[in-house]
Symmetry: C2
Subunit: 451 residues, 2 copies
Amino acid sequence: MVTELRTLTYEGDLGSLRAWLAENGTLDITDALVRLEPEERAVSFRLLDKDRALAVFEAMDPLHQQQLLEALRDERVRELFRGLEADDQARLLDEVPATVAARLQAGLTPQQRAATAALLGYPSESAGRIMTPDFTNVRASMTAADALTKLRRAGRRPTRAQALVLPVTDDERRLTGVVDLTDLVTAAPDTRLRELVAPETLSVRVDDEQERAARLLQEADLSALPVVDKEDRLVGMITFDDAMEILEEEDTKDFSRAGGAEPLDQPYLSASVFQLARKRAPWLMMLAVAFTLTVVVLASFESALEAVPALAFFIPMLIGTGGNSGAQAATLVVRALAVGEVRFGDLARIILREMRVGLMLGALLATIAFPLVSIFYSISIGAVISLTLVGICTWASFAGGMLPLIARRLGIDPAVFSSPFITTLVDATGLLIYFSIAYVVMGDQLSGVLG
Amino acid sequence: MVTELRTLTYEGDLGSLRAWLAENGTLDITDALVRLEPEERAVSFRLLDKDRALAVFEAMDPLHQQQLLEALRDERVRELFRGLEADDQARLLDEVPATVAARLQAGLTPQQRAATAALLGYPSESAGRIMTPDFTNVRASMTAADALTKLRRAGRRPTRAQALVLPVTDDERRLTGVVDLTDLVTAAPDTRLRELVAPETLSVRVDDEQERAARLLQEADLSALPVVDKEDRLVGMITFDDAMEILEEEDTKDFSRAGGAEPLDQPYLSASVFQLARKRAPWLMMLAVAFTLTVVVLASFESALEAVPALAFFIPMLIGTGGNSGAQAATLVVRALAVGEVRFGDLARIILREMRVGLMLGALLATIAFPLVSIFYSISIGAVISLTLVGICTWASFAGGMLPLIARRLGIDPAVFSSPFITTLVDATGLLIYFSIAYVVMGDQLSGVLG
């Protein structure tokens, strides 16, 4: 499909291009367009009719939107930008260079400009940045029919937040409740809104974290969540579609960090090779530096390695298994923290659970390893390997379960302490466990060289 | 807060318990309840008024719902179960033992029983399982006022799907379009629905995967997505709240697999230590078996290790860095696949990018490692370590970028090929790269023992 669009674009066959665009849906067109080179995208985009063009534009990432804007005429740019909701306008303004931002804002009415400027005044990652400042608030004393009339007057193309949930406010514009649109339309027209108000009023503060707001909306199954300022005055609404986007972004960030890389903050294929390397280099270097500890540990056990060279053969297996065991624990705890299933107060309980799990897993592996290693090497090496597996798995599960919780407590993203970090930590400490056990079990063979 | 509830429950102080429940919101109560032992939960739960009890029950996981049902009287159980939407009923019926299922269904009307039975007829993980079979369909020839009247008549407590989006159908109940509730309420009452129909009608088939449906709903910013059968007849609606839950579950699954463990399918703290171990043991064992390859590789290079013992010191650092580099690549590609940014067709492009990134990162590390190792050991060992870092990082990024795409093509969950799998693969192959380079660079020191 992309190849088809690319061929048509290269050939400049506008008739066929137009036909292709007419046959495909918004999401398919968007998907195909962003896979073309930035310069090629504008060709097809200009052929879309006005409504479809706005829909495709809305479905793009801010990066792709920016690239497209650079290729279009001023008039078209202003038209597209005006069509976005205020929170999407703010998001885009935040990402484009100042000169482009000025060009975009030129097309807005003074009210629109004030609205996006207000959103940009809130800290990034805050609820204020993703809320829609357009909403239709109602009074508890209104009837259902009044509220519908107010909605109808609010505008011909309402933003979703204007309609999905109606916030009920008092004379000071303080939030006192919410009415769900579905309850409003199914109620008798003369029902007072105070009878329709949801039993609980959930809201977030404008400077709360976006992720917190999004998770609250999800847990409570809300279609829109009111945002209030310090004085509890209503300032905006966060809708489910923005919450879904935030949660996807947050999960992508956690994934990146869990894989030992800084989040890309842009689609994978749009990032250049250099950008990819730059996001990964700091972590890789930091972990490589931490690995020098393993070199030091091994160098200090040189005599043991010379006395029993077979001890070296098991190093990757032992520290690798320890790393995997720690990664399992860390990943589960990081995710449970992210979705709100566990919190710092559960520390003792989690550590106890993880140590028992690590002990069980280590014992299981030891039971398999002991006979095999004893047959191929010796019973004493078999004993060292088995005991090390038990020790390393227990220690790794303990560290993997504990560190993400400590990180959360210290205000660090727990995902940082997932697989690569734990693996590296367990590698150095695992070697100490390994050689300590070796000295205890095989003292007679190693003590000569030690002395 | 949990401690507070637990103390009150133990003390049996019903007055204070009731006061505590009145002061807290649905989500806080749910959160505190599920942290109590299963037997203790029913005590507080019985004190909740009818509406709040249903809200708390709805907010629980199926596992916690089941545990609670077992502790309550038949009449109360039926009342709670009747209060759930059909898709939640089907989900719970699917998880409880057959005897409990019969007890639950006893309280349903024949229509309700038919509706949940129909949902249970669809394969698990299919769109059919999470759709709501209750919806209010309309005709294109109706006016906005007619549609609102039909909605109002549809029931006093409509399910969300009955209202957020109204599916437009023809005489055969085939889906021909959808009208957004927000457009309906803001239109003039005499507007024909055909003027309000959304420009595009997206839908999924009843046997499509849940995840596909949820991602489509998210990408298109829909509040509800129609579900049709093979003949394009409308059979249900999937709402945004169910889609959010599916996406969270799928991301949790990906996280587990990326951490080298099978998904728990239940909240972390509810799983027993034995269940945790059982989900992790298969992967840990499989990877440990794969690690025996590293033992074999190292044993075959025994003479080289004896000739230059310092070569052993760098093993954890080299294979660990390779593993981290591969994990970075794999994690980024797994996530990009999950959110639909890349697909199998991008294989060549991704491999090329990842190899260049790996080369850059390896070269960077080599530049730092060469002088350090040369000073502390020797220039030839410095050369071996640097060249190995370049080779291992390039190879690991290549494997990490490629394997998830191959997995997707073969119908395997790509997340399986994240950190632990790649790390283990790179460990064994990384050693081969290491010793091959050592033989080439330090041939004179190693060839004696080889021959």
